[in-house]
């Protein structure tokens, strides 16, 4: 378990600025870029997953406990279930 007793929350500030940048970039791509819809959805989808992953590691400290391997495994498994439910439903209902 690692935790630095730094006086300055540099990791949080970097995480926050990156989140803000990704949010604004996603809004600009979606609302101002004029790209075709599938291209926009792909770009903002990737940005959303990047931002979610960053929150897990930089804000939620998912890696730091002794149980981190099981924790990460559990969350990855939940994400697989989530993707199966969401993409599966969309796929089934559009066929």
């Amino acid at each position: 378990m690692e935790h630095g007793h730094t006086k300055y929350p540099i990791g949080h500030i970097i995480g926050f600025l990156l989140s803000l940048a990704m949010t604004i970039l996603a809004a600009i791509v979606a609302l101002r870029s004029g790209l075709p819809k599938p291209a926009i959805m792909s770009i903002i989808g990737v940005l959303a997953f990047m931002q979610a992953g960053m929150q897990l590691f930089m804000f939620m400290h998912i890696k730091e406990s002794d149980n981190s391997a099981v924790q990460i495994g559990n969350i990855i498994y939940s994400i697989i279930i989530a993707l199966t439910i969401v993409l599966g439903s969309i796929w089934v209902m559009h066929n």
């Binding site: 809004a27 609302l31 939940s78």
Partner: protein, 201 residues
């Protein structure tokens, strides 16, 4: 609870009980991911079924969405700063950041309720169409989680003011921070796929 603090570990990881509580909360978050996945799936499948009522483009307003998103994003950051202060054993800074977090959360709820009331005035209620049923259930579940988080947070603040920062209260604060960050993660997906996806021409 042992009185001997292991200084190589943060306060919230001192006892086996606390480590298991935190671990158990991660398992709960896994279940929450599945819950929100079913609501997202319902919304995506029904999002085109407006039944003659208003569509996403008629309802969603860029400005409102950006305000709500920024409020929740900043609150996730200040919540992180609260835990950072907690690990530096700075109780007052932790409480200050945590109170700011809850106020930003309350601001988010205010704007979200405002948005819902606007929609209802425009004739877009939960009964109007399948799209709006899915929308209000997904957003309402998220908003209810944020509201619950605010109430939970107020109770924890009272506990820390009364009992101080000890291994038990710090474990409780660490767990609510996980909950709060998780709600911001859910909002990232609502913002991206519900709002931005709905606003694309």
């Amino acid at each position: 609870m042992s009185d001997h603090l292991d200084t190589s570990l943060p306060l919230e990881y001192q006892s086996e009980q606390s480590r298991l509580n935190i671990f158990g909360f991660w398992i709960f978050l896994g279940a929450e991911i599945a819950l929100f996945a079913t609501l997202f799936a319902t919304y995506f499948v029904l999002s085109g079924m407006t039944a003659g009522g208003p569509s996403q483009l008629d309802l969603f307003k860029e400005k409102d969405v950006m305000i709500e998103t920024i409020l929740l994003l900043v609150s996730s950051f200040t919540c992180g700063l609260a835990i950072f202060s907690m690990r530096n054993h700075n109780k007052n800074a932790m409480l200050a950041w945590f109170i700011i977090t809850l106020l930003l959360g309350a601001g988010f709820i205010y704007f979200e309720l405002h948005e819902f009331i606007d929609y209802v005035h425009e004739g877009a209620t939960m009964q109007t169409s399948a799209f709006l049923s899915g929308f209000f259930v997904l957003l309402g579940t998220h908003g209810a989680h944020v509201t619950l988080g605010i109430l939970w947070g107020i109770l924890l603040i009272i506990q820390v003011v009364r009992n101080g920062l000890n291994p038990v209260t710090s474990r409780k604060f660490f767990i609510i921070s996980l909950y709060w960050h998780f709600l911001d993660v859910v909002w990232i997906f609502i913002f991206t796929f519900v709002y931005l996806g709905g606003l694309i021409q």
